[in-house]
Amino acid sequence: MNLEPEQTTAAESRGLLVKILGVGGAGCNALEPLMAAGPGSAAFIAVNTDAMELSRCPAPVKVALGNRTARGLGTSGDPERGRVAAEGALPRLRELLAGSDVVFIATGLGGGTGTGASPVVAAAAREAGAFVVAFVTLPFECEGAERSRCARAGLERLQAAADGVITIPNEAAQKLFDESTTAVEMFRAVNALLADGVAGLWRLLARPGLIHVDASVLLSVLRRRHAECRFATAAASGPNRSAEALERLFAHPLLDGGEWLTDAEALLVSLVGGPGLTMAEINRVMHRVNRQCDGVHLVLGALVDPGMGDALGITLVASRSTRADADVPAADAAAKPAAHDGSEFLHPGQTQRPASRVVAPPPAPTPENLDRLKAAPSGAKSRRKHHTAEQVEMPLEIVSKGRFEKSEPTLRNGEDLDYPTFVRKGVALN
């Protein structure tokens, strides 16, 4: 393939000024792999309240928070202390962040520093005029409900402060590794995921691509009201590499086994291949993704990295609304079907899924039935993109896979075919 630099649409000639901040213990640990193998040049800044941990971090610039309030001993898990400590260091942070174009914040939520300080750092970075993306890990379930509640609160604050927040739930990440992984390895692996995510987006923004993605395009995916973003990456090589990589993505634990995709509102698909990347492959990938998630805001990025060799890497960033909100930006609302009232179950023809050609539709509901059905909790696992407010709060019936509970799931197009068809398709039985 002929790759001339003139054809690419590199954003600025002077290059992006990228700053990467690790906030708290997890964030600082994630800096190490990034410094070793980042896709470009960036300034690395470690921010922590714990002086001991900070001294171990290899970052060239270190900001010790709350020397006075915490005496360098950390926050003992209190986000409030983290926030106060970060606010105390604001002048220093502002000075460090001045003039940057893109700021990545890597942190682990649930503790004191990451949860409390990172929103403050994010706000300072935005003040400095930078495009701010935060990568955060959410705590393991075994770390306790308190930590997880604390992480959720921190996430909301961070979402308000940063341009985009991409979450890596440790619980889901755990499924990427097998049972024999030791705890140390697991925490290291999660930190590596954090670093991978940052590196992925960084590469996307910093390297001129065949199909370039700039900050504003990325923003259109990440910055959606109440949106929570996930990212996942998969690589494959060989004759079927695009199909294989996609199959892996559609079953990726970080995307809840593909479920996240079916509910996604906006999607960034970024392909990295060696010089042998063909247009047909790009086409195939986009075609599959389009079919999987029709009606989403879809952004494509593609770049060629000679270091990839025969492999094809696909990174997905998917954002979806975590709350039932009617106030989606107007432009998006127009592109999407009108609000659902829950009656689609009863009129299969109106759902986004094509109605069964063969199974006769159940009888038309009477108005009383309709009201009753709307009020009753739905047993069906809805695959539609918009959940109405009632549906989100409804207790979900646990659908059992019966005899296939322990067998390898049969996945096709991101659906687990082991679940009963009539449940997945919402076929009314009576």
Binding site: S237, R357, V358, K425, V427
Partner: protein
């Protein structure tokens, strides 16, 4: 091979619901005569793959003993069928320049061009199960079935490759070998075997789809212009239907199975609405009344989805238009009432009943669609033996690389 007694061929299918062994004799004129059948309930297999080697061993032993008794022979070697959701089929193209002075294409050139078609990367833990030749082209002239002896500068070939996970393909082989039995050649993809049993040469020529609706998996094979065009496995089968019924009607699996067999249908009967069946009290289960309409609706949803997934895939590959002979359904699922009607609607093609298979047999048992795979395995073995006899003829038709599995 040259002794007076005819060569024995035993097809062994270790299926999800049953283990099935069919014994055939290969006669001098290359006709296959089926002389015995053995079967036994299978307990060690899920979704077409062995999950309990001990249980599978016991079931295989029972089935083989049954077949030995019926055919009055001793079985030492079997043609083994394998399947599983990890198998993938795809088409490849290979090129090879003819460099010899006289530009005459030799058997070695043919081997090389196929090697070239196969060469493109394989995931680390996978191996090639079958390489099936489709067509050759010499200097751009397509549609050549046998290029040996022709002159040309460039030889091209289209092949269909079936690959799978190495260890998972090996596990049934290990089980059979553990019973002091030989596996003849390499294991054979069961979908291919079913297609061999169900289609005659004319159907293969004008194009046909064979769908093997098994208990654990559904295999599908497309033949057109006399060659394999597409193969695939969906790890969804009759067990899923049973499981859906058990979940939807809140009955235990055993009862769901009975309901499926006795009252099931692939389409919702208008007359089923409001009709009930009562399950008698059994040990441990109280009697229960079940409405037929939801039962058939659950079954219809699953079966339609399964067939639709296949139809969608073939549509993507643009194969649906080339199926002049329509669709043939085999496997236990072909017994579900009105499944042919459903398949006709989904594929928009004529659906033929699994008629008598293309072998000679004395027993009528063999006309049931469940035996397609095992009979096909016998046929496959016969073709392989014929290939050995007539020096590579067979390779041109269906080039299973002998022992490809073992010398990866």
């Amino acid at each position: 091979m040259f002794d007076a007694s005819p060569q024995l061929l035993v097809g062994l299918e270790v299926g999800t619901s049953k283990v099935c062994a069919v014994v055939g004799e290969l006669k001098e004129d290359h006709q296959v005569n089926i002389i015995g059948v053995g079967q036994h309930r299978s307990r060690g297999v899920r979704k077409g793959e062995i999950i309990d080697a001990q249980a599978a061993t016991d079931d295989i032993r029972e089935a083989l003993a049954d077949a030995e008794e019926q055919a009055d022979v001793e079985i030492r070697e079997v043609v083994l069928g394998v399947t599983g959701g990890h198998l993938r089929g795809y088409n490849r193209h290979g090129q090879h320049p003819i460099v010899s002075d006289d530009r005459c294409i030799t058997e070695e050139d043919v081997q090389d061009v196929i090697k070239n078609a196969k060469a493109t990367g394989l995931p680390a833990e996978h191996c090639v199960l079958h390489i099936i030749r489709q067509h050759f082209a010499v200097d751009g002239q397509p549609g050549i079935t046998n290029p040996v002896g022709m002159a040309g500068a460039m030889l091209e070939v289209d092949v269909h490759i079936i690959q799978g996970h190495y260890n998972r393909l090996q596990s049934p082989v290990r089980v059979v070998q553990g019973m002091q039995l030989e596996v003849q050649g390499a294991p054979v993809f069961t979908g291919l075997a079913s297609a061999l049993a169900a289609l005659d040469a004319e159907q293969k020529d004008i194009g046909a789809l064979v769908v093997d609706l098994g208990a654990g998996t559904t295999e599908y094979v497309v033949y057109a212009q006399g060659v394999v065009k597409h193969t695939g496995v969906l790890a969804v089968g009759g067990d899923h239907v049973t499981n859906d019924i058990a979940y939807g009607l809140k009955v235990p699996q055993g009862r769901a199975e009975a309901l499926k067999v006795e009252h099931g249908a692939a389409l919702v009967d208008a007359s089923a609405r409001g009709r009930n069946v009562t399950l008698a009290t059994e040990s441990g289960h109280a009697s229960k009344t079940v409405n037929l309409d939801p039962l058939q609706r659950i079954m219809a949803s699953r079966l339609e989805e399964t067939l639709q997934l296949i139809a969608d895939e073939l549509d993507r590959e643009r194969l649906l238009d080339g199926l002049g002979a329509g669709v043939v359904l085999v496997g236990g699922g072909a017994r579900v009432p009105r499944i042919h009607e459903l398949a006709e609607r989904v594929f928009q093609l004529p659906v033929l009943p699994a008629h008598r298979f293309t072998v000679n047999a004395e027993t009528t048992l063999l006309e049931s669609p469940e035996f397609a795979t095992a009979i096909g395995l016998v046929k496959y073995g016969a073709m392989q033996a014929q290939r050995e006899d007539s020096g590579g003829w067979f390779r041109r038709v269906i080039g299973n690389r002998f022992g490809a599995l073992l010398n990866r």
